[in-house]
């Protein structure tokens, strides 16, 4: 056994000689530098973080099992793939053939429509216990319909039989005639109604959604425009580099920045609720909510754009003897125009997204339609609205990004 003078007694005897530069000992040496107090603090932070997450899980009722709740999810998911986009017209053809019971004639009774359909009842004078045959031609193929027997003066209006046309649009049906106790001699009418599927056209839901998304885009546009009109001039007063000179300037700067911060901190939906109380339900309330929200956010972004300009040109124009307004107009404005435009387009795009939910609180736009369909459990219609939002918002997102990339 190798013995080393001065080796600590705690070293297990028989172990391999410790290499002074081995990684194990280096790690141990470095780890030992961390004080026990720091370790304790770290452990405490970890425990508190876990505690908060567990509490959060319980408070928010997280239940992963509910996500897989098929009976509730199925109709919604199914509706998502079958949105109500198109609907088909029903073309109804009605023909009326009178038959005379007790007249003794054997010939058929017929009626024909101007659009070419004919309906034939044979015989035209049914006898008790005899047969009655119905023939129709010229109808839409594979259409369904019914034949009723009617006699208003006797109070008779009953379903006689149902018919379905074949591939050529014709049908044939046989039946028997009852005796005089049911149908005494008189004139009866066989009334044929054939319901044929007509032209396919865009559904009312789709048209409604389209008009509402248009309203939403315009709502966002109006809100953005008024937001720009208010925030763009204000933003110059909220730029430190333009207002830093005097105490009055500083005061104005802080007040403007405070206005921006306050208006920005209130969520659009809450603003919507407030505006609905003030001006009533509708798009106008939505526009006002967007305006207030935009003033804060746009103002901040504009002010920051102004603070980011090159000071040189401003200095040069001030040196020509230009007054303050002219200096800002010729030295600052040309520098910030591209950023202002880019920020504005982005913000309009953002406002469209905000406007889609404003309808939930009565602020107009497409959200109103969505909540209406959801409340009526009309999931197919709701799906149409949802898809409309997704597609339009995505397209706008791409469009605004494309425009902005050309500006800067």
């Amino acid at each position: 056994m190798a013995t080393v003078v001065g080796q600590p007694s705690s070293e297990p005897s028989g172990g391999p000689p410790r290499a002074p530069d081995s990684s194990g000992s280096a790690r141990a040496a470095l780890a030992a530098r961390e004080s026990p107090r720091r370790r304790l603090v770290r452990l405490l932070i970890l425990l508190i973080a876990i505690g908060v997450l567990v509490k959060g899980w319980m408070v928010t009722d997280i239940d992963l099992g509910k996500l897989a709740n098929a009976p509730n999810a199925a109709p919604i998911l199914k509706s998502l793939v079958t949105p109500d986009v198109v609907s088909r017209d029903i073309v109804q053809v009605e023909l009326d053939v009178p038959v005379v019971v007790g007249a003794g004639s054997n010939g058929p009774a017929t009626a024909s429509a101007q659009t070419g359909q004919t309906f034939k009842v044979e015989p035209g004078s049914p006898v008790p216990g005899g047969a009655v045959a119905f023939d129709g031609t010229g109808f839409a193929p594979n259409a369904t319909g019914q034949i009723r027997v009617q006699n208003p003066s006797r109070g008779i209006d009953a379903l006689w039989l149902r018919v379905t046309t074949d591939d050529t649009g014709s049908f044939h049906a046989d039946s028997g005639w009852s005796d005089y106790s049911v149908f005494p001699p008189d004139i009866y009418h066989f009334h044929l109604t054939i319901n044929a599927p007509g032209a396919t056209h865009i559904s009312d839901t789709f048209v409604n959604s389209l008009s509402r998304i248009g309203e939403t885009i315009l709502l966002a546009l109006m809100g953005t425009v008024f937001g720009v009109l208010i925030s763009a001039p204000l933003s110059f007063l909220g730029a430190r580099n333009l207002m830093g000179g005097s105490a009055v300037g500083q005061a104005i700067y802080w007040i403007v920045r405070l206005i921006f911060t306050i208006t920005r901190s209130i969520e659009v939906l809450i603003l919507g609720v407030i505006m609905v109380v003030i001006v009533g339900i509708g798009s106008y309330a939505g526009v006002l909510a967007i305006v207030v929200h935009s003033v804060g956010s746009l103002g901040k972004l504009y002010s920051e754009a102004i603070e980011g300009i090159e000071p040189g040109p401003v200095e040069a124009i001030a040196a020509t003897g230009a007054n303050r307004l002219a200096t800002v107009l010729y030295g600052v404005v040309p520098q910030v125009v591209p950023t202002f435009l880019s920020v504005t387009i982005y913000w309009w795009d953002h406002n469209v997204r905000m406007s889609t939910v404003l309808g939930l609180v009565g602020g107009g736009g497409i959200g109103f339609l969505l909540i209406q369909y959801m409340n009526l459990l009309q999931f197919n219609q709701a799906a149409t609205v949802l898809w409309m939002i997704v597609i339009v918002v995505t397209l706008l997102d791409y469009a605004s990004a494309a425009i902005r990339s050309r500006l800067v």
Binding site: E310, G312, P313, E315, A316, I317, A318, A319, T320, G321, A322, N323, L325, A326, T327, L329, Y330, G331, P334, Q335, V337, P338
Partner: protein, 251 residues
């Protein structure tokens, strides 16, 4: 005549940039300011048109007391003092014409400025000043499409629009290559020979010798030297720039 008396400038934080500077600049001089970076050249130039507020002292231009002027009076004095800068300070996204026309902003009314409505006379003046710096055909180009030397010449044209009595130039060629530097300084020299006073800070002593009719040197905010360019010998050079300094020539 420009007269500077006991000029002091203290920056916030206690840095003294100018220490009791007094000098007179006679009409028609090409005065070159030399000195190390931070010696106070830019501060001195900016005190003359009050882009920087002096702490104390007095500056007068002919009968006008620049340091006492306020508001409209200050702007009237400023428009009589042209200035060009190291970074040219053109509005890059605006056209050459717009940049040159901004030189008239000290003359036009608020409304004319707001509506960008400059008079026929101003347009004619802009074209003739661009002609003077050899950029007549660039009038409709965006300023940032021009080379550095061309941009500085546009800046000179802009300053000329003010019809100034005196032209300040703060390191006008420090961002330019040697050949372009000469071209820009030749325009300043020509303007000077037509009678305008020029005060120009420069890094290179060789340029100062070529173009200056008089040189003053600043060191840590104090006036170190005031004389003819040819009077700066080895000893004076080292007094201005420090023991370690070696003079480099610019061709």
């Amino acid at each position: 005549m420009l007269r500077i008396e006991h000029l002091v400038k203290d920056y916030a934080g206690g840095v003294r940039a100018l220490e009791d500077v007094s000098l007179e600049v006679r009409d028609g001089e090409f005065l070159v300011l030399i000195g190390l970076s931070g010696s106070g050249k830019s501060t001195l130039l900016r005190c003359i048109n009050r882009l920087i507020e002096p702490t104390s002292g007095r500056i007068t231009l002919d009968q006008d007391d620049i340091t006492a002027a306020r508001g409209d009076e200050l702007r009237r004095i400023r428009r009589g003092i042209g200035m060009i800068f190291q970074q040219f300070n053109l509005v890059k996204r605006s056209t050459v014409l717009t940049n040159v026309l901004t030189g008239r902003l000290g003359y036009v009314s608020q409304w004319q400025a707001l509506l960008a409505h400059f008079g026929e006379e101003d347009y004619r003046r802009a074209l003739s000043n661009l002609e003077r710096v050899g950029l007549r055909e660039r009038v409709h180009q965006r300023a940032d499409r021009l080379s550095g030397g061309q941009q500085q010449r546009v800046a000179i044209a802009r300053a000329l629009m003010q019809e100034p009595k005196i032209m300040l130039a703060d390191e006008p060629v420090a961002s330019l290559d040697p050949a372009t530097s000469h071209s820009v300084l030749k325009y300043l020299q020509q303007i000077n020979r037509e009678g305008m006073t020029v005060i120009c800070s420069l890094h290179f002593l060789s340029l100062a010798r070529t173009y200056g009719t008089r040189v003053i040197a600043l060191k840590q905010g104090r006036l170190m030297f005031d004389g003819l360019p040819s009077d700066i010998d080895e000893r004076r050079f080292q007094a201005i720039y420090g023991e370690e300094a070696v003079e480099v020539e610019i061709e």
